[in-house]
């Protein structure tokens, strides 16, 4: 490996934390989905790095599967966002507070 494993793990952890921060702080549904994407891509980064570290292709195959599944998830997520926008004329998560207790 050209890049040391530690650097890669640090970068991936930072990305994951940034994505999580985005999910927790943002109130816009689309921004939350983007945060989740960043978190999942940081996992992809670790997989690719670990794949090179262990000299196997398993990790790279998993990244491809991960990308396909994420694409499906985003497609459904955005469809739901459109539906929610039709329902409430807003995609701010703060206004979805009918149910409590």
């Amino acid at each position: 490996m050209i890049v040391p494993m530690e650097h890669l793990l640090i970068l991936a952890t930072l990305l994951f934390a940034l994505g999580l921060g985005c999910v927790l702080v943002r109130r816009n549904l689309i921004m939350i989905l983007i945060g989740v994407e960043i978190m999942i891509n940081s996992a992809g980064l670790v997989l690719v790095g670990a794949s090179a570290f262990w000299q196997q292709v398993d990790g790279q195959i998993m990244v491809l599967i991960l990308m396909a599944i994420t694409a499906a998830e985003v497609a459904i997520g955005l469809a739901l966002v459109v539906y929610l926008h039709q329902q409430k004329k807003s995609i701010d998560v703060g206004i979805f507070d009918e149910m409590r207790g």
């Binding site: 793990l9 989740v36 978190m39 999942i40 992809g44 990790g59 998993m62 599944i69 998830e73």
Partner: protein, 471 residues
């Protein structure tokens, strides 16, 4: 991929192809009931294939297995989905669901659950869990124009997507630490004291967070009551039973192994179990909505099941499977009764609306009481045997403190399970709900209640079956 692997995956392939066929057929023939019946048939056929067709090989591409245990779980989830489709017959007409899409998504979820509980590698596990979750995202918000359904869908989407991200990162860290996706090898890799062990443990911690979200353990349970309340009642029933059971079932073979690496995980599970039982119980007490109460009840029951997962071994696994079957029957039945009470104004959820319904609907009220009393663990019903076996396993396994907390939670649970029953049998005249249950609904619910009564008197057949399939 050769013919033998395909043959071993036959139930899952049947479910996926059946789902696609119904989706295509639904575009031409807009008949809701027809597609629900076809979907239920496909699920039953898949269950029969899983039960009676011997797999050509046990290990499928190192991703899935076709052991007796995996097949047992497949049968259980397929039958739950078939029952869900049958009790939805009147419900889909009432709220004008697209019948083809509804049945197709349910079958797709069944395929995901069955893949999930037969996974032997993280790749298979991730794939199964995502197939299940993606179908559920749509099913939860399926009632068009219902703002609560939309809210529930939004909440499940956000929590589910974050859980997926945690799962993916956890799997990536475990792979970085151990260099394998195989579940058993990854758990065994934790036991060596090398430099990468902390990385592996961090991965398992993230994995536990994701599982905690999926089976709603405290403190990751916050979405549960809102989603169950907003989702259509049959979907809530599926969410509370099979969707959670499949995740738990995936981790049972893993924790049966003992070892130092797994011991660390067990300590965390111990804390989660106690927190889940206590917080769930106290949150359920003030509820006045039956779907929210059942949501917190499912949180508490996941705490009980966690006890069995911690005890592990033969006895723990047997107690867990028995409990899971009995819990599934009772919780599914309770949500089923809520489904039958729905009319064009919506579902009956508040206790105030349940008042006096027993005079109008004596049979359904009696069945709801049976389901709730079984969840409480009152002796002549199956729930008693399930709890007894579980707490006994905890005592014998040296986890007496967990059993004590469980017993205390069970005793307190009498209060919140009796509240809807008291409302049903109160002498005031009922003001709502004159709907007559459809035949398919009655059939499924009477079946559930009959099995609960039968297993309460004579649990031996299920105990024997469970003893045969444990990994």
């Amino acid at each position: 991929m050769n013919l033998e692997s395909l043959h071993s995956l036959l139930p899952q392939i049947l479910l996926a192809l059946g789902s696609t066929a119904i989706l295509l057929g639904g575009a031409w023939v807009r008949n809701r009931r027809l597609w629900l019946i076809v979907g239920a048939l496909v699920a039953v056929v898949a269950a029969l294939v899983a039960a009676f067709v011997d797999p050509a090989r046990i290990d499928i591409l190192g991703m899935y297995s076709a052991t007796a245990y995996a097949r047992f779980c497949t049968v259980l989830w397929c039958l739950t989905v078939a029952a869900t489709l049958l009790i939805s017959c009147r419900y889909v007409d009432l709220f004008r669901f697209g019948g083809g899409e509804y049945a197709s998504l349910m079958l797709f979820a069944a395929a995901g659950m069955s893949l999930l509980s037969s996974a032997t590698s993280f790749v298979g596990l991730f794939l199964g869990l995502e197939v299940l979750t993606l179908a559920l995202y749509v099913l939860i918000a399926f009632r068009q124009g219902d703002s609560r359904g939309a809210e529930a869908g939004m909440k499940y989407l956000v929590f589910g997507a974050v859980a997926t991200a945690f799962l993916a990162f956890g799997i990536a860290l475990i792979y970085a630490a151990t260099g394998t996706f195989n579940l058993e090898a990854a758990a065994a890799g934790l036991q060596t004291e090398e430099g990468l062990r902390p990385l592996g443990l961090a991965g398992w911690a993230l994995l536990l967070v994701a599982i905690g979200f999926k089976i709603s353990l405290v403190p990751f349970h916050l979405w549960t009551p809102d989603v169950y309340q907003g989702a259509p009642a049959p979907v809530s029933g599926l969410l509370a039973t099979a969707a959670k059971g499949a995740v738990l079932a995936a981790f049972l073979p893993l924790l049966v192994m003992t070892g130092e690496g797994v011991a660390d995980i067990r300590n965390v599970l111990w804390l989660l179990a106690i927190a889940t039982m206590l917080v769930g119980t106290f949150a359920a007490l003030p509820q006045t909505n039956i779907k929210r109460m059942l949501a917190y009840s499912s949180v508490v029951h996941m705490g009980y099941l966690l006890i069995a997962l911690i005890v592990a071994g033969d006895e723990g696994s047997r107690a867990l499977l028995f409990y899971m079957v009995v819990y599934t029957l009772a919780t599914f039945g309770a949500f089923g009764i809520v489904t039958t009470f729905a009319d064009e104004n919506g579902e009956i959820q508040e206790y105030d609306d349940l008042r006096g319904l027993a005079t109008l609907h004596p049979r359904r009220s009696a069945m709801l009481s049976v389901f709730l009393l079984s969840l409480t663990g009152i002796p002549p019903l199956a729930g008693f045997f399930a709890k007894f076996g579980l707490f006994q396993a905890a005592f014998r396994g040296g986890y007496a403190e967990l059993a004590v907390v469980g017993v205390i939670a069970s005793i307190i649970s009498v209060y919140y399970y009796l509240r809807p029953i008291i409302a049903l049998y109160s002498p005031e005249p009922a003001v709502v709900c004159r709907e007559v249950a459809a035949q398919s609904e009655t059939l499924v619910l009477v079946g559930c209640a009959a099995i609960i009564l039968f297993l309460g008197v004579y649990p031996a057949p299920l105990l024997t079956l469970v003893g045969l399939v444990i990994p």
